[in-house]
């Protein structure tokens, strides 16, 4: 049976066509992967199927009935639920309250508090286990996703659209989510899986649809596809996975950063070193304390222990003094921590360097604009407009601006937390080149990434992190993703045993 049939679907926003001529059948009981570069329209298509966006052209049928009218409410009523990339939970409510939010059992507006009992039934039927009384905010992202899925099941969803569900999950949690998807499929439900992680898509999907610049490129059984085939379909050319830039061996052995015994609420005795021109990676599962190490080094969080910058002890660190001293961090969440969306590109780029671009407190806009134009040029930011509205830029271009803003003034040490999260292939490659180039200029670089492959491809050395501790140092050229993962899980279970 066909769950969703799209014929000639198209979507335009403000006259700009972002999706054209999508003709697609998605079967009941199928896991259907949707892939494409950022901006290719995969999330848009997911949202159209989930009723969040309206198609401007074409038609859609859901279980044989025309989808008209089509909005989130109508979609839910017809058994189609959309799981947003940013989870739509009420943090202060419990699991049970969240699952039945809006469909509580009421008697003339008075809650009858039957949610826990109903949830128990639902969990028994679906095989999910969560504490019904746990507050949503206290749960891991993977568990919160389960709440979203249970919520969809509580509304008897037969089609669940998951938009980038794994973007903030650790590897083990991804496997868990995939098991969940298979369980849903076994139950005769349909999962539409939007993601830019090709391995994930390939490992669980029955069929995969590839989009490129809003066009439907191909739909094929996953068993007949390889990663290389998908990437070349996404890019349109014969390109395979983007190569990492060459690792240049730094000739300068001078120590740029020495961290010793950094300890706080999440970290225990973290010590690491970075030489000039060296790229060092931090690898750990989500929640291992990778980002917390970065924050403690620049003084965004308090900690004990010492940090030496170019040989001199650097006490009383705050983001302000660290920035002044050339010890900078590119934060992981560009929307929340990185960019000021209410300001255009230029002031975002010069924000950490106001003293450099002002005289007697008065901004020198011409110099700012010139520098911003240089960086835009260097990173190939599109649109190439220093006065552009950054909020309207694609993720990849926002990320280029975010990294570019920290390159002004050639800092001594750059810490990059998830430098290429959620960006398209082209931007990712440009960012990797820029990282190699800053190291070649003598900057010491610390790269943090959930993508182990990315760290291995970029770094000269890498540390493995587990529960706020550094557990091992590795040579990226002597190992691979599987070995690193195995090592991480080994350390994790050994600490559990000793704890």
């Amino acid at each position: 049976m066909i769950a969703i049939r799209a014929s000639g679907l198209g979507v335009s926003f403000g006259g700009v066509s972002v999706l054209r001529g999508i003709t697609l059948d998605i079967a009941q009981g199928e896991i259907h992967g949707l892939v494409g570069e950022n901006g290719a329209g995969k999330s848009t298509l997911g949202k159209v199927l989930g009723g969040y966006y309206q198609a401007t052209t074409g038609a859609m049928q859901v279980f044989g009935e025309p989808a008209n009218p089509w909005n989130p409410r109508a979609a839910l009523a017809r058994g189609v639920a959309l799981m947003h990339q940013e989870l739509q939970l009420v943090p202060a409510l419990t699991v049970a309250q969240n699952v039945f939010l809006g469909i509580e059992d009421k008697w003339f507006g008075i809650l009858r508090n039957t949610e826990k009992r109903r949830l128990a039934g639902l969990m028994a039927a679906s095989g999910f286990a969560l504490d019904p009384d746990a507050v949503a905010a206290s749960l891991s992202i993977a568990d919160r996703q389960k709440i979203e899925i249970l919520r969809a099941l509580a509304r008897d969803a037969r089609v669940i659209v998951m938009d980038e569900p794994t973007s903030s999950l650790a590897k083990g949690e991804v496997a868990h989510l995939h098991d969940t998807m298979r369980a849903l499929r076994a139950d005769g439900r349909t999962v539409i899986y939007v993601s830019h992680f090709l391995d994930d898509i390939l490992s669980v999907s029955d069929r995969v649809t590839v989009l490129r610049d809003g066009d439907h490129v191909l739909t094929a059984p996953a068993a007949t596809l390889t990663k290389g085939a998908i990437v070349s379909a996404m890019l349109g050319g014969g390109k395979t996975e983007t190569p990492f830039p060459d690792k240049q061996i730094s000739g300068d052995p001078a120590m740029a950063l020495e961290v010793k015994g950094l300890t706080n609420a999440t970290l225990r005795e973290v010590s690491l070193t970075l030489r000039k021109g060296e790229i060092v990676g931090l690898i750990g599962l989500v929640g291992s304390g990778r980002s917390e190490i970065a924050r403690a080094i620049i003084g965004a969080d308090p900690s004990t222990g010492t940090v030496r910058l170019a040989g001199a002890e650097f006490a009383h660190r705050t983001p302000h003094t660290s920035t002044q001293a050339g010890l900078v961090m590119v934060p992981e969440d560009r929307r929340k921590q990185g960019l000021v969306m209410t300001l255009p590109v230029r002031p975002n780029m010069t924000l950490p360097h106001l003293a450099r671009f002002s005289r007697a407190g008065i901004m020198q806009r011409l110099r700012e604009r010139r520098k911003a134009a240089d960086l835009i040029d260097y990173f190939r930011v599109r649109p190439a407009n220093p006065e552009g509205d950054i909020a309207s830029f694609s993720g990849g271009n926002q990320q280029k601006v975010l990294i570019g803003k920290w390159l002004i003034g050639d800092p001594r040490v750059v810490i990059l937390d998830e430098p290429s999260r959620g960006v398209d292939v082209g931007a990712r490659q440009r960012i990797h080149e820029a990282i190699a180039e800053m190291a070649a200029r003598g900057t010491a670089v610390l790269v943090i990434s959930s993508e182990i492959e990315e760290v291995l491809g970029l770094a000269h050395r890498a540390y493995l992190v587990d529960r706020g501790r550094i557990v091992q140092m590795i040579d990226p050229d002597q190992t691979d993703e599987g070995a690193v993962l195995a090592a991480l899980f080994r350390h994790q279970s050994s600490t559990e045993a000793t704890a």
Binding site: Q337, V340, T342, L351, P352, G361
Partner: protein, 311 residues
């Protein structure tokens, strides 16, 4: 032009359009409206509020709210009159802004050190400031009938009230600060995304304190002008000014979520409120409808502002 840009323009210039429409309407309806005398009077009467609204713009752009400026105004009124009477009239006028500045710094420190929302903090400090003003004045009027004190509010320079000059210079100065200086850039960044600003090495707490200090200074300056004009200081002066100032800022399309706004538009917001008032007077309209009308216009402005945000 895209819808997005149009909504932005509408948000930015709605206050000017409304002001222009009201001015044309009042000109057509009454011969006594469009006279230099009437217009100068409107500006003169509203100079203190415009000064306070200009400074409130910076507070709101930085993501704060200052409900204590009315109380600081009262404190400035009492202090300037008391100093003028007991010490020296010039010193009284001069010190008032700096007393306000000190109170603004207190606001800023309470908010940043205790980590409380500015809304709550300034409700508390406004009662404290007002209370000090009442105690100092002993609840009485402090009349200061000397020309060395009343010149600021009553005299003219080059045919225009000195108060208007002060207001124009102050508003231009804050516009310059916001749009051209490093401080202004930091205010916009802290209000737009405080976490990103902090991680960019900006000392956000210091910036917040500065905006409250400027708001306090402005309230003290406004109090000096108004007290000089009425030639007496009293602790009940300035009641409700904080809400008028906030209303003017919002009428000017400055986002109450912070990060976006302009000083001149808040001044235009004050003028719009003043024109509504003036219109009721010169048209002999029923003053019972004045609050109702003002409220509806503010509601319309908020509606326009919200539609711009969503687009």
């Amino acid at each position: 032009m895209t819808r997005h840009n149009f909504a932005h323009l509408l948000q930015a210039y709605a206050v000017l359009i409304m002001t222009a429409v009201l001015m044309v309407a009042l000109t057509l309806l009454s011969d006594s409206f469009l006279t230099v005398q009437n217009l100068l009077n409107i500006l003169n009467q509203n100079a203190p509020l415009a000064i306070m609204a200009s400074a409130m713009t910076l507070v709101i752009i930085a993501g704060g709210f200052d409900l204590s400026v009315g109380a600081i105004f009262a404190m400035g009124a009492v202090a300037s009159a008391w100093i003028a009477l007991n010490f020296d009239p010039y010193v009284g006028l001069l010190l008032s802004p700096f007393i306000g500045l000190a109170m603004g710094v207190v606001n800023g420190l309470v908010i940043t050190l205790l980590r409380v929302h500015s809304f709550l903090a300034t409700i508390a400090t406004s009662l404290i400031f007002k209370g000090i003003a009442v105690v100092l004045s002993d609840g009485r009027l402090i009349p200061v009938r000397m020309p060395e004190f009343t010149w600021l509010g009553r005299d003219k320079l080059g045919g225009v009230f000195i108060a208007i000059w002060v207001m124009v210079i102050f508003a231009l100065l804050l516009t310059f600060v916001l749009t051209r200086t490093s401080l202004g850039r930091q205010i916009l960044a802290v209000g737009g995304n405080a976490e990103a600003a902090v991680l960019s090495g900006i000392r956000a707490d210091r910036i917040r304190v500065i905006t409250f200090a400027i708001a306090g200074f402005a309230a003290g300056l406004a109090a000096a002008i108004a007290t000089s004009r009425v030639s007496m200081g009293q602790a009940s002066a300035g009641a409700g000014f904080e809400l008028d100032a906030i209303a003017a800022v919002i009428l000017g399309g400055t986002s109450i979520y912070g990060g976006v706004g302009a000083v001149w538009r808040s001044v235009a917001g004050v003028l719009l409120l003043a024109l509504i008032n003036n219109g009721f007077n010169i048209l002999n309209a029923d003053p019972f409808y004045r609050d109702l009308t003002t409220g509806l216009i503010i509601l319309a402005a908020i509606g326009v502002s919200a539609s711009g945000k969503r687009a």
